[in-house]
């Protein structure tokens, strides 16, 4: 399963839909996408991880890098994730304290 990345703008928020597997092989593509979005002036990003099937610490590192980038422009990066096996990774690494994590996209956009 490869990584899929699609983004769209809703109001002043950019939603990045991520699907598939985020690991040491595919994470550089996610990194490039986040760098591109910030370079294009998208500073308020919601990463929708509903369709992510696998996530490892390389992917976590890329998300933290994205958060640092948007924060340097006074922006924010929030996540949508409702899968226990992915949430477990955030809990073990303590990143639930770093990222706002929402159950649904609607909740993240409200």
């Amino acid at each position: 399963v490869e990584l899929t990345l699609e983004h769209r703008t809703q109001g002043d928020v950019t939603v990045l839909d991520v699907g598939g597997e985020v690991d040491v092989y595919t994470a550089p593509k996610l990194r490039e996408k986040l760098v591109e979005l910030v370079s294009d002036g998208h500073y308020n990003i919601v990463v929708d991880m509903t369709k992510v099937e696998f996530l490892d610490s390389t992917g976590l590192g890329v998300l933290v890098g994205g958060l640092k980038r948007v924060r340097s422009h006074n922006g924010g990066l929030e996540l949508v994730c409702n899968q226990e096996r992915i949430l477990k990774i955030f809990r073990i690494t303590g990143l639930t304290k770093v990222f706002p994590i929402h159950d649904t996209l609607e909740e993240a956009l409200s």
Binding site: E21, D23, V24, Y25, R31, F54, D56, S57, T58, L60, G61, V62, V64, G65, R85, K88, I89, I92, T93
Partner: protein, 133 residues
């Protein structure tokens, strides 16, 4: 010692394949499905760490895995050259988008029932166990 052995190049493209092979072996050995997910992540973290370490060394030496049911449970051993990414002295200097290199070990420790990390003569063996049933 686990009975099945697998050798892969230190290339990120092979990490996904290896974790699927080990996950299937874990399933066949009787590891519950929710713990098979833990096996997948732990194997991925161990291999990703090894791949990064060997890339930092500029080494193309293969990475060896051994896995299978033992008296302890489902046991996995990943052996590779010890790279600077796993060196505790470099833990305070993560790359631009990498967290502390110890994060992989934190994840493996959090997901498995037992873990050990043993440097020996330029190589390092990372071993972990997940209980059966």
């Amino acid at each position: 010692m686990p009975s099945v052995e697998l050798r892969i190049p230190p290339d990120p493209a092979y990490v996904g394949l290896a974790r699927l092979v080990v996950a299937q072996a874990a399933r066949q050995a009787g590891v519950p499905q929710d713990r098979v997910e833990d096996v997948k992540i732990a194997v991925d973290e161990a291999l990703a760490n090894a791949v990064r370490g060997q890339a930092a060394l500029g080494s193309s030496a293969p990475i060896d895995l051994a896995f299978g049911a033992t008296d302890l449970g489902f046991e996995v051993v990943v052996r590779a050259l010890e790279g600077p990414a796993t060196d505790a002295d470099s833990a305070d200097q993560p790359g631009p988008d990498l967290l502390d290199p110890k994060l992989s070990l934190t994840l493996i420790e959090g997901l498995t029932d037992d873990m050990s990390y043993e440097p020996e003569g330029g190589t390092v063996s990372l071993r972990f166990v997940i209980g059966l049933g």
